[in-house]
């Protein structure tokens, strides 16, 4: 794809668990075209899966009538991923998350789960919720993966 400039892929998936796999396959195809390494592609697939699952679970409340929008923007130097949901859960949590307390979960002091945002943060270069004044009420989660050190 280098150096032809920006390419944008946009898809809408139903807010139902399982459909995040479509986003996962789509992002893998785009990342492959950007010549990301296989290891990095696996990281990106996992991050997109987790972000879409959050959007389905919390952002749309499992309501299959709602849609999660995934916008993949491939630039020469980076892959920019925006995931939009209807925002039914209200204000999103901070992304500055701690390492999961596995011991707490095993000993029953912490509930199982809550690892998705941590995994995303570890796998991509930038991750966080963004504000969009034109799209009131929706929640948008953005991830960026740079091509630094990746194959040309």
């Amino acid at each position: 794809m280098h150096p032809h400039g920006r390419r944008v892929v946009e898809l809408k998936i139903p807010s139902e668990l399982g459909y995040e796999k479509i986003a996962r396959e789509a992002v893998a195809t785009v990342a492959r075209r950007l010549n990301f390494s296989q290891e990095k592609i696996e990281d990106i697939k996992t991050a997109v899966s987790e972000a879409c699952t959050n959007a389905i679970r919390y952002g749309s409340g499992f309501d299959v009538r709602m849609k999660v929008v995934v916008i993949l923007t491939a630039d020469d130097d980076k892959l920019d991923i925006l995931i939009k949901d209807p925002g039914v859960a209200g204000v999103p949590p901070p992304v500055d998350v701690d390492i999961p307390d596995i011991y707490g979960m095993i000993t029953g002091r912490r509930r199982l789960g809550g690892m998705g945002l941590y995994i995303i943060k570890e796998l991509v270069d930038e991750a966080g919720f963004v504000q969009d004044s034109d799209d009131e009420g929706s929640t948008q989660f953005r991830m960026v993966i740079y091509r630094v050190g990746e194959g040309e």
Partner: protein, 117 residues
């Protein structure tokens, strides 16, 4: 969208080898917990989770596995995992699960470790 995991059990003495094929997501909770309960009732001292063709393990799936670790610890069972891709080994290390589960490349290597104890 149906993505149910396929679960089957085989035995090596008191070690239950649980083969898991398919996605490890929230949909896997019931079959995984059920197979662990049955293996325990049938006398499993050690449990090996053998991952086969698992292209997709998400954080909900990892939470299910943490639940399995919890139950195994209560029953003094040794839990091992085999067949994980390097990517999922990395994710398991990242969240700290490998502090509580031993990872081996193959079932044979896990059984060797069991039998050498």
């Amino acid at each position: 969208m149906s993505d149910e995991v396929q679960v089957s059990v085989r035995w090596d003495a008191t070690t239950a080898i649980i083969d898991l094929a398919g996605d490890i997501t929230n949909l896997a909770e019931k079959p995984i917990n059920q197979v662990c309960r049955t293996a325990t009732e049938d006398g499993a001292v050690n449990i090996i989770f053998n991952f086969r063709q698992n292209d997709y393990i998400n954080s909900a799936g990892i939470a299910i596995l943490i639940g399995v670790v919890t139950e195994a610890r209560k029953r003094n069972q040794t839990l091992m995992m085999t067949g994980l891709s390097s990517h999922f080994q990395k994710i398991f290390r990242m969240v700290g699960l490998t502090q509580y589960v031993e990872l081996y490349p193959t079932v044979e290597e896990a059984l060797t470790a069991v039998n050498s104890d």
